[in-house]
Subunit: 408 residues, 2 copies
């Protein structure tokens, strides 16, 4: 499977995209997140069931990585830093507690089971980032996007993605073999923040004139291709200076968001995303070995135990974060439950831990189960807590969110 000829490659892409789209559509039909359907499609196509998709195939791996870079670029393009700052202290507090508590609980679980601190850091990190796409989608379906609780959830979900990106850089550096020292974490954090800050400051000087200059070229697709090149270029740069690729891609999104062509870029890149992003989730799913989840096999009991404990840590950590802004008068239950679903970023961590050799296939599968369970449980729980209002949201609903929600 390592070397593909062109027809094999075309056939495999059709199977992967087709399975992802069918899985996504079925997931949507049963009121679940589209990304879940894509993951399940990947699990089915992977080595432990059908065996059509080998996650070690070089070209598929490279295309899937383009998918992550494009996804994080799109999230950056959707993220308005100023708007987030207006949501105020509640969102920041929920985000910080919602990152810190699950991380601490996850770390404690793994450390308590004697798995070593590197594994504990990676597993804890997979619990930190709420999937903004899944949360926003559920709130939109319930016609609750304009309630204060929803603003806090969305704000916190985006902030914890940003914190997650910094943690990601730390984790990536750790999985590349660096030892866990306070100094090392401090260095990587500084590098991640420094790279992001440096790119944002320098980028504000360089990118707008570049976009203006390129804007004079009268060729279709120029804005989109410029966006792709800035995203890939900054991802490459981030990786080269020792930070994480997706921080570069995210920074590219933040920078280009300020340009007049942002909307054109968003639409254009979304089409590339429809192609590349599902390939990433299918590849993530294909790496899941369902056999390690068989409870009848005694060797799997530890994996299942860890998976169960990670789910408890994941749910408890985010749920409690909803009560952190004690001054907030609204429905605090909704906030905590809304923060529960994990998604893309957690999967990226897990994938990184697997390829870096830090997570065993069993632990990787445990994390996958955690992501799936937290994502599955949030929509029904939210529906219990929030009765759907009969009126539809106004058409003035923030456009970015709508696009983002259904993205992958």
């Amino acid at each position: 499977m390592e070397h593909l000829d062109v027809p094999q490659f075309l056939g495999l892409l059709v199977v992967m995209l087709g399975a992802a789209k069918i899985g996504g559509a079925l997931a949507q039909r049963i009121s679940q997140a589209v990304v879940l359907g894509e993951l399940v499609a990947g699990v089915l196509l992977g080595g432990s069931i059908v065996g059509l998709v080998d996650p070690t195939t070089e070209v598929l791996h490279l295309l899937a990585e383009l998918g992550v870079v494009i996804l994080l670029f799109e999230i950056g393009l959707e993220t308005d830093l100023r708007q987030l700052m207006q949501v105020g202290g509640a969102a920041i507090l929920v985000a910080v507690v919602g990152v810190g508590l699950p991380f601490a609980l996850g770390y404690a679980v793994c450390w308590g089971l004697g798995l070593g601190s590197l594994v504990a850091v990676v597993a804890g990190a997979t619990l930190t980032a709420t999937s903004v796409g899944i949360t926003a989608r559920v709130l939109a379906d319930l016609h609750r996007l304009h309630e204060p609780e929803s603003h806090i959830i969305l704000g916190a979900a985006v902030i914890d993605d940003v914190i997650g990106l910094v943690i990601l850089a730390v984790v990536e550096s750790l999985t590349r073999g660096h030892t866990v020292t306070v100094l090392g974490i401090l260095q990587t954090t500084t590098l991640a923040f420094g790279f992001l800050a440096g790119v944002l400051v320098l980028g504000r000087l360089v990118v707008p004139p570049l976009v203006r200059w390129v804007g004079r070229v009268d060729l279709p697709g120029t804005a989109t291709m410029l966006a792709v090149m800035v995203a890939f270029g900054l991802a490459w740069l981030a990786s080269t200076v020792g930070s994480a690729m997706i921080i570069g891609a995210f920074a590219a999104g933040l920078l280009l968001r300020e340009t007049p062509q942002a909307h054109e870029m968003e639409r254009g890149v979304a089409h590339l995303g429809h192609f590349f992003v599902p390939l990433f989730f299918v590849m993530v799913g294909a790496a899941v070995d369902v056999r390690v989840l068989n409870p009848l096999e005694p060797a799997n009991h530890q994996t299942l135990l860890i998976g169960g404990l990670l789910i408890v840590a994941a749910v408890l950590g985010k749920w409690l974060s909803g009560y952190a802004p004690i001054w907030f008068k609204g429905n605090k239950h909704i906030i905590g439950v809304g923060m529960i679903p994990r998604g893309e970023v957690g999967l990226i961590f897990a994938q990184m831990g697997l390829t870096g050799g830090v997570l065993t296939p069993g632990l990787f599968s445990a994390v996958m189960v955690m992501v799936m369970v937290t994502t599955f449980m949030a929509p029904p729980l939210l529906k219990l807590l929030v009765p759907s209002t009969p009126h539809r949201d106004q058409p003035s609903e923030p456009e970015g969110i709508d696009d983002l929600v259904t993205k992958s």
Copy 2:
């Protein structure tokens, strides 16, 4: 260079796309076809000059092939068979003569030089298809898209693309090692026509219900991804039954053109095209060894001689085809000159001949020179023959052409 890690891959894509876009923009600035700039960018990045792009890198080769499939799919999506039939006999006659005469002249040149009949067939085939993109672009720039001469040129250019596709299947089969027999050519022609006819007949039964059924899925990008899957799937099928991949992709375009979502698909796939198609042209350019064109090196004289004779055959063959519809009262010079530029399809033939081992690097470079020269010479010649009219074209100008013109 065979195996790339992710940052290398990202960096290489930025360089290739950036060079293609800069080359395209510069070409446009000096009133040349965008595709020429992309080819020149590839030549510069290739092994004989900068050496950044190795055309044998597996993942780049596979991505470039996706580019060809997408390009032919887009051409199919733009091709209205019924409209072509209305353009009447003149276009068909120009197309048939414009395919037959250059092929015969090219074959004669190679055969006369003792190169063997397989080489002669492939070289002759590279001369057959006018680049509809380049021609249409020049006519649009001159505000002449609605003159009868332009209708004949565009119709003939599209018809010779279809004939070219059949020749392509023959050539592909030949370059895969089959010997040139009348029976073999007949078989391949039957297979190419049969596959196209079979797909169009069966497809009309299967595709519209499929599109309607998939249209009920409320996920963004569904139509575009369906289009990609049908295109890749039929390309795979064509290859599997022994026809050419791009006939499958072209047939997919013809089929989906009839569906209500055709316009949405066109816009979505165009974005994928902006990414993948330039990669193909850069890879084609990167395969050119400029050193074999050095006239001071005696070993190159045969290549240069063949290149020169191919240019004569290419220009003469198409130019004379303009006079074939003797009953037409308009300006016949314009028709012949408008048919001169060669492009995508010729390059695909040449690339196929090179990878199949039929064309030597020297002959491949001779064909490349022919494509470049014919494409370079048409715009200035047309400008001499056609004074630009001061009034702008009506906005009712066929939309497809405008999209197609500036595509790659």
